[in-house]
Amino acid sequence: MSRLTNTNTLGGLTLLAFGVVYLAVGAEYPLGTLRSMGAGAFPALLGWLIIITGAVIAARGMLQGGERFDVARRPLLAISAAIASFGLTMPLFGLAPAVLVSVALSATAERKFVPMRVATLSVFLIALGYLVFVTTLGMPMQLVRMP
């Protein structure tokens, strides 16, 4: 088991980095005094605590090891792409294209891609989404729009 790439070491180091960045960005806010704490005081306290816990976790990982960091790349990429495409398509083209694109992309998470299935599911979800969010809750979303 690797001392550097196990879950504890990587997790701890990520936390450590997060703490350092958080502290650095937060450094521009005034600390104030103990009696009247400024906007930067609480973040500074948190930043240091995060750095300390991150260091402890990373140290434990290096000394004692931990589990292997096992990423399922295919589902991760497919789902990420689906969400990103929804965010890009929805404001420009409306609900129907956004659902279609994200269903198609998230279906690639599985090894078997069946176009007919994607189409049927999309139609069903577009109808459901329109019924629930637009008809019932009255949200101002367009089914299809031209940018």
């Binding site: 504890n8 991760l76 789902i79 998470a109 969010f133 809750l137």
Partner: protein, 515 residues
């Protein structure tokens, strides 16, 4: 007779047709989502959070509460039929529930869980009615120092009790607190950690954070673990009826489970999972038929189910009266209340009695609806379980995206979901449970506010936290809890060294699922 008057007010609010309708809708949707394998009550509540913004505060909370216990109930259905707990707390139900299903007694198991849930829930509600006003009165003497220390205890509880590594839990709480500082500082008006993005001036969207960490991350992990399980069993109405001896066997465990569950539910940080687990262990200890546990023994499902639902109800006691949520789901409830401009705490009972008592009444009505709804609909839930995952995950993902988008109509929020979804997935595989993060996130701003006020009152001397007796004892308990869990964890880890992986599969399972 004040209590009767309050309850009358409550039932009046809860029985208003719109609230009743949303209670029904919440319970129905909650069960529907909870039944789906791999989706817990936390994801269910976050998925329906955006919808609640369109409702009145009462209707919103009534619906979300319905979703919560509906999902808990639905989770046990999946646990019994598939041995695939929809919610972590129902993992305990699966121990005896699934063997019962394999012996062809799935119907009886489902019926007993329904009855046990109802009994446990009812008991928890009685406790809520009895304790909440007294507790709220007691907390009137709380100043900022006491609130701060109370929240410290709540956060340490959330970080340590969930199981797994306490230091990782603590780290997640701290990250949650840090994310909570994003946005405009209420005291000085400084925009913090916004990186110039106007969308962040009001803070990170709770909906986007919760959906990303729980919804999206859960989908990615479920696809990875296969998620292909088929139920062969068909459950018909007439299979449901338990025999007289079945009921007799279930009766006492139900009572013990309800008491155990409500007691555990009140504790900050301890959730239904703990409640169910404790109740099961207690049953095993007191039982004269100990050998039958794990092989489909009725007390083995009746006790944890009663405990689980009693804990759901009693967890509302600290959330509503102190404003300190015991679990991540409660934190989201608290967030929902805050978004609706209702601040939980001792003043809730005075300022918004219709909300508090309406909630209490609707809890009971919701539990009743659960009973009425589920016995005839069990067949439908069974069929839902047969939906293959390749159809389910794109559907859930789309609903998450539409839901998040509908809050602000901004693609920015979708970006946040993506960010937190990926982050949440990495946390999961690295053994960091994201549930304490949500508790920290919701409590962060309130905590900072109270810290700053207390320091002002104490003229800049932090001694104020130990000089005031209530605050002192809260901090002592927090420290003891922290030291004790770290000690216990280190000792357990030391036992495992030698056989290389430092954590057992069971612990890993607990980590992953302790939402």
């Amino acid at each position: 007779m004040e209590l009767l008057g309050n309850l009358a007010l409550g039932f009046e609010t809860a029985l208003a047709p719109t609230n009743l309708a949303y209670c029904f809708l919440g319970v129905l949707l909650g069960t529907l989502i909870g039944v789906l394998p791999g989706i817990g009550s936390l994801a269910a509540v976050s998925m329906l959070l955006p919808v609640s913004f369109y409702l009145t505060p009462e209707a919103a909370i009534v619906m979300l509460a319905g979703v919560y216990y509906g999902a808990e109930y639905g989770g046990s259905t999946a646990a019994i039929l598939l041995n695939l707990p929809g919610t972590p707390s129902s993992a305990v139900t699966a121990i005896d529930g699934n063997p019962m299903a394999k012996n062809g007694r799935a119907g009886v198991a489902l019926f007993i869980t329904t009855i046990a849930s109802f009994a446990g829930g009812t008991f928890g509600i009685f406790l809520l009615i009895a304790l909440a006003p007294t507790l709220a009165e007691m907390t009137l003497v709380f100043g900022p120092a006491e609130y701060f220390s109370m929240m410290v205890l709540g956060l340490i509880g959330a970080a340590t009790i969930t199981g797994g590594s306490p230091i990782k839990g603590l780290a997640m709480v701290l990250v949650g607190l840090a994310l909570g500082t994003v946005g405009t500082d209420v005291n000085s008006g400084t925009a913090r950690f916004t990186f110039g993005a106007l969308q962040l001036y009001d803070g990170i969207s709770l909906v986007a954070l919760a959906m990303g960490l729980f919804g999206v991350a859960e989908i990615i992990s479920s696809i990875q673990s296969g998620g292909r399980h088929q139920v062969r069993q068909n459950v018909r109405l007439r299979d449901l009826a338990p025999s007289g001896s079945d009921m007799k066997q279930a009766l006492l465990p139900m009572g013990r489970g309800a008491i155990m569950g409500s007691a555990v539910g009140i504790l900050p940080g301890a959730g239904q999972t703990m409640a169910a687990f404790f109740a099961y262990s207690l049953e095993k200890t007191v039982s004269r038929t100990r050998d039958l546990f794990g092989k489909g023994h009725i007390p083995g499902i009746a006790a944890p189910e009663a405990a689980n639902n009693a804990a759901v109800q009693s967890a509302f006691i600290p959330t509503l009266t102190l404003g300190v949520p015991g679990s991540a789901t409660m934190a989201i409830m608290l967030g929902a209340l805050l978004i609706h401009g209702v601040s939980p705490g001792p003043s809730l009972l005075d300022l918004n009695p219709h909300i508090f008592w309406g909630l209490v009444a609707s809890f009971w009505i919701g539990n009743l609806l659960l009973l009425v709804l589920n016995i005839p609909l069990i067949g439908l839930w069974v069929r839902l379980l047969q939906i293959p995952y390749h159809l389910l995950h794109p559907a859930i993902l789309c609903l998450i995206c539409i839901g998040v988008y509908s809050v602000n109509f901004s693609a920015f929020d979708i970006g946040l979901v993506l960010l937190f979804g990926v982050a949440g997935y990495f946390m999961r595989i690295a053994g960091f449970d994201p549930a304490p993060l949500i508790v920290g996130f919701v409590l962060g701003p309130i905590m900072e506010e109270n810290l700053r006020r207390a320091m002002l009152i104490g003229r800049g001397d932090p001694a104020i936290f130990v000089e005031r007796p209530i605050s002192f004892w809260l901090l002592v308990i927090s420290a003891a809890l922290l030291v004790w869990t770290i000690f216990a964890f280190v000792r357990a880890a030391a036992k495992h060294t030698g056989n290389a992986p430092s954590r057992t599969d069971q612990e890993k399972e607990n980590d992953r699922s302790s939402t």
